[in-house]
Amino acid sequence: MAASSQTEITPVRFGVVVFPGSNCDADSYHAVSTFAGAEPRYLWHKDTHLDGLDCVILPGGFSYGDYLRCGAIARFSPIMKAVRRFAEDGGLVIGICNGFQILLEAGMLPGAMLQNRGLKFICKLVNLRVESNRTPFTGAYETGQVIRLPVAHHEGNYYIGEAGMRELEENNQIIVRYCDEDGAITPKANPNGSLANIAGICNRERNVFGVMPHPERVCDEIIGGADGRGVFESIIGAVAGAGEQADPSSLRSSG
């Protein structure tokens, strides 16, 4: 490329994986496309290359009909081998809802999902407290900030053994928790029985993030909120700023 490309901004490239049964792939694609600095593309579950991508999104839905356990079959998709390699090389991977369940089944994040405590499919807006903005997925939020995102799941009751829980806490891997309007972590604010009100966690290296609520569904005020935009802003900021020292304050959104 000629030196003039210095003045052009290279878009941050997102790949949205489409499994048979995914149903939030189009929402994720659309959410990404609303950012000037980002470029989405679909990936089929049989693809085996992730060339040139900066971030992979495993979207929500019912991959493989949720047969056996949610995410249990999707983890054997040809593309998951590539996603695992991509993550091991430091690529950013975000699993939303069913995507989170797939990351758990694949062992790319610790723990497992149980059925919701109330046995019901829950579909509503919930309050979440951002526990750490020290991830490429939450850098645009303030730590402690309360945001509102929708949940839509039947198996979102996160479980992990005692030793695993200690590790999550020691490494600051719990990224979002269900809370009340004021940011208090209470049993009442917990929609599904999730351990320690956990709604989203990252791996130790902080480049793989699983989250049950759907940021991609609240990226525009005309559909009821824009609190999810921060996740995409964070990713774009983290990728764009990876080469240079980005000023984190420039990534913060007001919302």
Binding site: L68, R69, A72, E105, G111, A112, L114, Q115, N116, R117, G118, L119, N157, Y159, I160, G161, G193
Partner: protein
Amino acid sequence: MPESSGDGREPETGRHERNGVLTMKAKVFITPKKGILDPQGLTIERSLPALGFEGVSNVRVGKYIELELPDGEKAAAELDQMCHKLLANPIIEDFEFELVP
């Protein structure tokens, strides 16, 4: 349908020939690990007294999987691996299996 025996039940054998391979039948029982909340089990447990069944406790709802696998010395070890790697999620589930002789 195989011929029925006198009591109306099929003779129980786990061994069959499938495409020239001798297979045996296995039964896999998967249950939520002890100490893990089982909301389905709890709901059933709370429903039973309404029907007059008192004193029922520890209701746990799991899965039952039947399969046929190649007969041989390795069958049990392979089935154990299948359970660990796919049929059950060892983080939240216990499993037991039996090979039908």
